[in-house]
Point group: C2
Chain length 216, copies 2
DNA sequence: ACCGATCCATACTCATCCGTATGGTTACCG
DNA sequence: CGGTAACCATACGGATGAGTATGGATCGGT
């Protein structure tokens, strides 16, 4: 009765850099399962959030996807809520280093903002979790996380605009405008699929953003 | 056994202008129920969407709020999906006339955009449904509606920017940027509650938007 | 080789919510 | 005033998903 296990196989870990690797690529042979850890559940949950939103994080569905049953889950986590919190916290930690570490290496403050825009624009796959979390703000667990993350990013933008020459009050408003444009863009694209903008036109849009929002 | 009826009373119809009026304001007296129509259910659903999102539209919850039972609902609608579709369609119809009818009366194209910005900014209560619908784009029923509405608004913005003097390609990109800023602003405010911006500072932000996005 | 700790499967309970069936009540019309 | 259609209540069935109980399997250390 231990069949129906290698059914849904493709796991494709979210940034599985350096983690334990027991993804099963084979089609219908032995599942070659390793035992799972709490981390595995969190990563799978994160992937699920990116693909289908926070609401899709159900323990039985996750268990099927990982090739186990609920029994495993409730050993690692006390409740579904606990998994969500752990996953969100992991995302918050991991996500901070993603952009800021790279950007702060750019010496010239004038070049920092355009470069930030271009990089963010071309790394969209990494922002799918953020977009999914935006749509889940009615869920009380995600609100504080998103509030912290958004605040930090806004602060970053504000100082960047100041360093680019804007007087403080304008810098704050420009940061608000920029961040709102970023958030809105996420929504209007890979959640709503507005007239699927193509590559070169997208680049033109990014350059237009830079020209409009960043002071010469 | 017909008690537990005047429990949840406050209905506060969404724009109940000219509709049948059987909202019960009294606290604990007779509910003075009139019989319901399909329209009543749609309005209540719309209110619920604005308050708690699309996912909260459950027929038994709605029935409780309206002081009836499911039996009523399934007389007016074949299914829950049907109610959602009807509600969304009603919103789409009703929402179109809301802004455009007023704005197109403004003769000078140069004044049209700033005026649009100011009005939209001060009528935020009316955009709560739109914000809730943005968070429900994983729900297949809302996607086509939002696609149509967003496309129409984008087109409106694009021609407005052209009339304000921008060359066509720039006008399109500026419209994209503006609309993204609008959408993002909705998210970051009454779903996420970022540092609750106050009134005068908010006006300053709107003027900053106008100065930044609208060509002199 | 054994044994305790770790990990997982099976089989439940319980709550929620959509939808159906059916009979009762209220309004309206001739 | 009587009857038909519109409206609603009650009581189901069935599906889903969270959480619990408990015993079996597996791993690591000694």
């Amino acid at each position: 009765m231990a069949a129906a296990r290698a059914a849904t196989a493709t796991v494709t870990h979210y940034k599985a850099a350096g983690y334990r690797y027991h993804t099963l690529m084979n089609v219908s042979s032995k599942p070659e399962r390793t035992r799972l850890s709490a981390e595995d559940w969190e990563l799978a949950a994160m992937q699920l959030i990116a693909d289908q939103g926070v609401g899709a994080v159900a323990v039985e569905a996750l268990a099927r996807q990982l090739g186990v049953t609920k029994g495993s889950f409730y050993w690692h986590f006390r409740t579904r809520e606990a998994l969500l919190n752990a996953t969100l916290e992991r995302w918050e930690q991991h996500g901070e280093r993603e952009i800021f570490s790279q950007i702060e290496l750019i010496a010239d403050p004038r070049e920092r903002l355009p470069e930030l825009f271009r990089r963010v624009a071309h790394e969209l796959q990494s922002h799918r979790v953020y977009a999914a979390l935006l749509k889940a703000l009615d869920h009380p667990q995600v609100v504080p996380v998103m509030a912290r993350v958004s605040q930090r990013r806004m602060d970053f933008l504000t100082t960047a605009y100041r360093e680019a020459g804007l007087p403080p009050p304008q810098a704050l408003n420009r940061a608000r405008l920029t961040y709102a444009a970023y958030v809105g863009f996420l929504q209007l694209n890979f959640t709503l699929g507005l007239p699927r903008i193509n590559h070169e036109e997208f680049d033109a849009y990014v350059e237009h953003m830079i020209a409009t929002l960043i002071p010469a």
